[in-house]
Symmetry: C2
Subunit: 135 residues, 2 copies
DNA sequence: GTAGGGCTTCCACCAACTGGAAGGTCAAGA
DNA sequence: TCTTGACCTTCCAGTTGGTGGAAGCCCTAC
């Protein structure tokens, strides 16, 4: 299979696939004309990567997960551990965004949004953090 | 004030402040020894930037917001517009993360997490997207 | 032979910093 | 006076995960 084929089948852009080869995530063979030649197993890996990335795993985590996938003697606890760590990151991010959302929507509600210059959003942004000038 | 002073007072790392100067967000003066010399107004801008960034506004949005802040003839609707756009982005991100969280926590619950190799997390990742091989 | 698609490499760029090296400045202490 | 240490300077490189584009093969069809 050429890169266009696996791109279509994996749902990943060809550019991304070349990038994944660059960083050693897949190692397709080469045809006589220099084209990459993907095996079934490469396609499989790419699909794995696409799915893992879509769940937000980092490239490094993907690397680890693929290793575990390849290792028939793995312990599922190792996989679960990675997933749990990732879940925690997601939770932290959601928390952070929710906090932003809170503040921001509060400010938006308070802003008249008319043609006058007074604006609680700007007032908030302009407020200094609780620290004072140097002596 | 030297960079260390405004760093402490604004809560921003000195490196970040230099970077902000690089991209034209602040323009501190220079002392005879080559050190940056920050005015009160620079500190104010930096605090503004720090606050806006902490709410997740992009640097470009910060630029616009600072311009509006400086413009005494601004319409608060312009500010509100920027904030609303940003809120939408936040909502989209939260939505995306929540979806990931959903899938992931589901998989984690399904995984035994013991020393056996069977793992629904890996099984899910390994599933191909709904597309078939080429003709 | 030429037009088109697909493929190749390489280089640059995105956001928003962060780390580190090499070196100048300044105030205090021995 | 010298030195130590905390500041400060610039510049270069790296981070994450790709994306865009240029220049140039390859292959098939017409």
């Amino acid at each position: 299979m050429n890169i266009g084929d696996v791109a279509r089948m994996s749902g990943l852009p060809a550019k991304t696939i070349r990038y994944y080869e660059d960083i050693g995530l897949v190692e397709p063979m080469r045809s006589g004309n220099g084209y990459r030649s993907f095996r079934e197993s490469d396609l499989h890996k790419l699909a794995f990567l696409g799915r893992a990335r879509s769940l937000g795993f980092t490239i490094d985590e993907c690397r680890n997960l693929m290793q575990l996938y390849a290792d028939k003697d793995r312990a599922s606890s190792d996989v679960k551990q990675i997933a749990k760590g990732h879940l925690q990151r997601i939770d932290a991010k959601i928390e952070e965004l929710t906090q932003m959302r809170e503040t921001l929507s509060h400010l938006i509600r308070a802003c008249a949004g008319d043609n006058r210059p007074d604006c609680p959003i700007l007032s908030d942004l302009a407020s200094l953090p609780d620290q004072k000038k140097p002596a």
